[in-house]
């Protein structure tokens, strides 16, 4: 077992290098979009955007696996069919608000095929979490997600270009029909659409600058000018937006532009 892990770890170190070469979208690896492949994210150090006195300046990220795409409507439909208690009409109010899967035509019907391959949105954290468990996966932590999402787009080495992609997305109203996965850019880990398509749930979304839950007192200091007090980079407007967005969430909320992708520990099967 140990040996397997070591081999996997070795592969994992090589993988990102391999992805540097994959500049062209639409390469054969990703032709089966419904089959959400995972890539390994090599561990490393993450510098939290929001810094707290009671936390180290650097968070160690252990190697982990992450879906290359956000989970699509079609993939989520398979989950709902297998677990009808998560169907639109069955779900408990405790686990999702009234907007749950409202883009679908019915409990087990997406309706039309335009959004089959688009990220599933209007899903609560509970639903996203249940899907991940069903798949034998989990939601990525905020640190993992931010770490993976900070990788540069393939073919664009500068960090500033990434910020531009994000701000350009913020600048445009949501499209009427959400584009399919892999419609924006791919980063050097081989991950698609980390920015510019949908917001994504993370496991600990409600830990933004607080101890424990989203009704804690510190979370509320994240507005107006007070928000700049604890940030690592005051000019990273894009990051401010993500953290502000997460701060406004509760686990039962569903939002038209909020989806998710799954992660997996590297050292566990």
């Amino acid at each position: 077992m140990k040996t397997v892990n070591v081999i996997l770890l070795a592969v994992c170190f090589l993988l990102p290098l391999k992805h540097f070469g994959e500049a062209l979208p639409g390469n054969p690896h990703f032709s089966h979009r419904s089959n959400n492949r995972m890539v390994c994210i090599r561990g490393g150090n993450y510098h939290p955007f929001l810094q707290r006195k009671d936390q180290p300046d650097v968070v160690k990220i252990h190697p982990f696996m992450l879906d290359v795409n956000a989970v699509t409507n079609a993939e989520f439909l398979a989950f709902v069919k297998a677990n009808p208690q998560w169907a639109r009409s069955k779900i408990a109010q405790l686990f999702a608000d009234a907007g749950y899967l409202k883009q679908w035509a019915g409990d087990f019907v997406i309706g039309g095929d335009k959004i089959d391959n688009s990220p599933v949105t209007n899903v609560s954290w509970f639903a996203a979490n249940a899907y991940a468990k069903w798949k034998g996966k989990r939601l990525p932590t905020m640190a993992e997600w931010e770490y993976a999402a900070s990788a540069a787009p393939v073919g664009m080495s500068k960090r500033a270009r990434l910020t531009r992609i994000i701000l350009a997305w913020y600048d445009h109203p949501n499209p009427v029909i959400l584009p399919p996965v892999q419609s924006t850019y791919k980063n050097t880990y081989g991950l698609y659409d980390m920015h510019g398509l949908v917001w994504e749930w993370v496991d600990d979304f409600n830990s933004v600058g607080i101890q424990g839950d989203n009704s804690g007192t510190n979370v509320k200091s994240f507005f107006c000018a007070a928000g700049s007090l604890n940030s690592a980079n005051k000019e990273d407007y894009a990051a401010f937006m993500r953290f502000a967005f997460r701060q406004g969430l509760q686990a039962r909320y569903t939002i038209q532009s909020l989806g998710f992708r799954c992660a997996k520990d590297f050292f566990r099967n």
């Binding site: 509320k220 994240f222 507005f223 502000a244 967005f245 701060q247 909320y253 532009s257």
Partner: protein
Amino acid sequence: MKIVTLNNRLSQINIFRPILLLLVPACIFFAGCTSKAKTNDPSNGADTVTGEYSPALTFAPNVPEARDNTTPKKVIVEIEVIEKVMKLADGVDYTFWTFGGRAPGPFIRVREGDEVELHLNNNANNKMPHNIDLHAVNGPGGGAEATMTVPGHTSVFRFRALNPGLYVYHCATAPVGMHIANGMYGLILVTPKGGLPYVNKEFYLMQSEFYTKGKNSEPGLQPFDMDKAIKEQPEYVVFNGSVGSTTGQNALQAKVGDRVRIYIGNAGPNLTSSFHIIGQIFDKVYVEGGSQVNQNVATTLIPAGGASIVEFTCKEPGTFNIVDHSIFRAFNQGALAQLVVTGQADKNIYSGKLADEFYYPPIPADAGKKDKPAIEPAMPEPSFADRFKDGHTLFESNCSGCHQSTGLGVPGSFPPLAKSDFLMSRQDKGIGVLLHGINNEPITVNGKNFKGVMPQLSLTDDQVASILTYVRNSWGNKSAQVKEGDVKKLRGQ
């Protein structure tokens, strides 16, 4: 009729309030006065609320009508946040984040002591979380922390409007600057218990800046430019959300004799406004939108995130430009609104133009003396290069105003010197003109007739020689150096 009497009585109270406040410290000495002082204490917000209503919300430049409420009410205000593309200037679009679908957002009018219940709805199609910080609120974040709302959700909170005044409200979600820069602001008026004095017209104006990637007027959908915002270098400074929002067909309208009150806010996010109406004097300014009234002000400062109430009576008809008197903002960046006043002109107040005649500059008192300069020791004639250089400097300060630095003059008014047949025909002609000027004598230059005045300049022979050397050797002209002796000779004649 009863209402009118009541209003009059209330406005009197309002007028006397500053006096009452002044009396408060004095009253401390007199126990009998303390209860009187208490009833006027603005922090006393515990008055019983009776009844509730949803007020009419208006968009700029309109202001909701005053209500005659005499007791505090519960006021239910609903605002929907909408992110949408709208026009910023002709051919220029921008993704606005708005309160109520417009920038600025709706004007909220409540009364001192009211209990305001605010519902903030974040449209499900929006991408961003939003909230609202009303400067009229006593409480953390001005309501921002209580109204943090993700798309598709609604937040509700309540506050007591304890302090009368005019206040800005804005979105305060991080990064707050971007939310304001994208259009999320408006005004809330808390009228004092006695109401505000009656006026004929009330208007709502709000100044703000826009930081676009493209330069001013560059067409298309322009994204927000964070670098320009941090440097505080906007491409647009506008009233009511877009260039031309309140000009021409959309100008504010009033009549001669109207008493006008403008509620003006400055959303910023960065700049302080030097608010001014060209040709009007604010006989009343509620400084920074508060209770202190200043009188007879032409330009009033409005800080970013602040407001002001200005009042004046329209005395003359005409179009009055409303500007930020940091004037390049008005001229180049869009900070221009207009008030059109119709009615009878009063020549007793403003005559309009009475005359337009040629201005003859006075001849300096010592001009005659220079005609006969004291005999100076003859200086050696300078080199051509020195003459030319001095001549250039002298030309720029004495001559270029009319003849232009290009030497081309102004067609029809001031003859050209460049390739001028008149100037180049004879050296002494130029010397004579410089020494004596021209007084309405007709001259012909390159076939064109000129009739006008060139003032006699008080120049020394040396200076005349330098200027002539310069003009006779510039812009394609070519001739010999004019010497001081040549000028001296002609002056003597």
